[in-house]
Symmetry: C2
Subunit: 179 residues, 2 copies
DNA sequence: CATAACATGTAATGAGTTACATGATTAA
DNA sequence: TTAATCATGTAACTCATTACATGTTATG
């Protein structure tokens, strides 16, 4: 469970309110760890409870921005967590189950689905590439932090490319298998 | 949510008890959709409730195997589900969050973690390749069902290869960034 | 000043995980 | 025949999702 630490990371990069964090999630860390605003508000409250972050103003704010920032203990916790062991995220994809199901009770015309997924991944890849050419143009070193951000983005690019290649192969297999 | 349909698929391939399904999950569909035995038992009970599967014996079995098999309505439901739209599984990986955290508050020596993950993925890749050479040796067509099973396995192989490539790059970047 | 957009929050639900319990079968 | 293992099951809990509610700020 990484959401609290994803939030601590975002706040370590820059203070912000819940809604700002939600917006930032949508275009950086969120590529690899999504969260709805409800999760974010709840988790921020917990982090404050635990003393890892603080927020202003003190009194209850309904409708008004609440400014969060990370505290030293939060940074410490984040550093501790970074080197915790983790298992690879379990690969869980409905499409794989659908392919097995297609094998068992098909054919059902699954290639339509696959073409749709292909388009989704192509769009995502295009988005990542746009971000890359905007934020990481030159190939010369740009400092440790930027290099690591670039690395994470390149993971996304690899991942989407992987899917596109696989889905193209899947289409071929499906067409061949029908004939 | 695919667990019920993963179970229907497994039962369409071959009838079995809860524990047998759990064991099969561990080495086929389970590569892409995991479930604990508790989930499986609960979900099998729901599927029976819904009339998609039936089980013997009728009376309560605590400690004794309960044999499940799929019913026609279960097959029908499975066919219907195959062509439901699905979104790509959200990519959610703690390591990506750790890399961002490392960028924000590091360096912390994250390369140890990455080497560990690298080993995990190399092991998995080796396992998948063993399965491939055991079950899908020849390159000649082996029928629709086998081709689709092979396809799913190849997705796993691609996926693990992707991770290995990425983690190797990550190691390079981390070493370079420290220096 | 009315309305839309924004920001925070509550409540209900469900999937998935963990810990534990109990009956049946197998092996020492 | 006792212990270990297998098979099924119950209970409690957490994360994540969905729907909804309420207040504040910006805009015409």
């Amino acid at each position: 469970m990484s959401l609290p630490h994803a939030l601590l990371t975002a706040l370590a990069e820059r203070p912000g309110s819940g809604s700002e964090l939600a917006a930032r999630f949508d275009k950086s860390i969120g590529f690899f760890w999504q969260a709805t605003h409800q999760q974010i508000y709840r988790e921020l409250a917990r982090l404050e409870e635990a003393g890892f972050v603080e927020s202003l103003p003190e009194e209850s704010t309904r409708g008004r921005k609440r400014a969060y920032r990370i505290l030293p203990s939060g940074r410490k916790e984040l550093k501790r967590w970074i080197n915790q062991h983790d298992e690879p995220a379990a690969l869980r994809d409905e499409l794989m189950v659908r392919l097995r199901a297609e094998a068992a009770v098909g054919p059902t015309g699954l290639d339509k689905q696959i073409e749709r997924r292909l388009a989704v991944h192509q769009d995502k890849l295009a988005l990542y590439r746009r971000i890359e050419s905007r934020d990481f143009q030159g190939h010369e070193p740009k400092g440790r932090e930027a290099e690591l951000h670039h690395l994470v983005l390149k993971a996304g690019i690899r991942f989407e490319s992987h899917w596109i290649e696989f889905l193209a192969e899947a289409l071929e297999v499906l067409k061949r298998a029908v004939a």
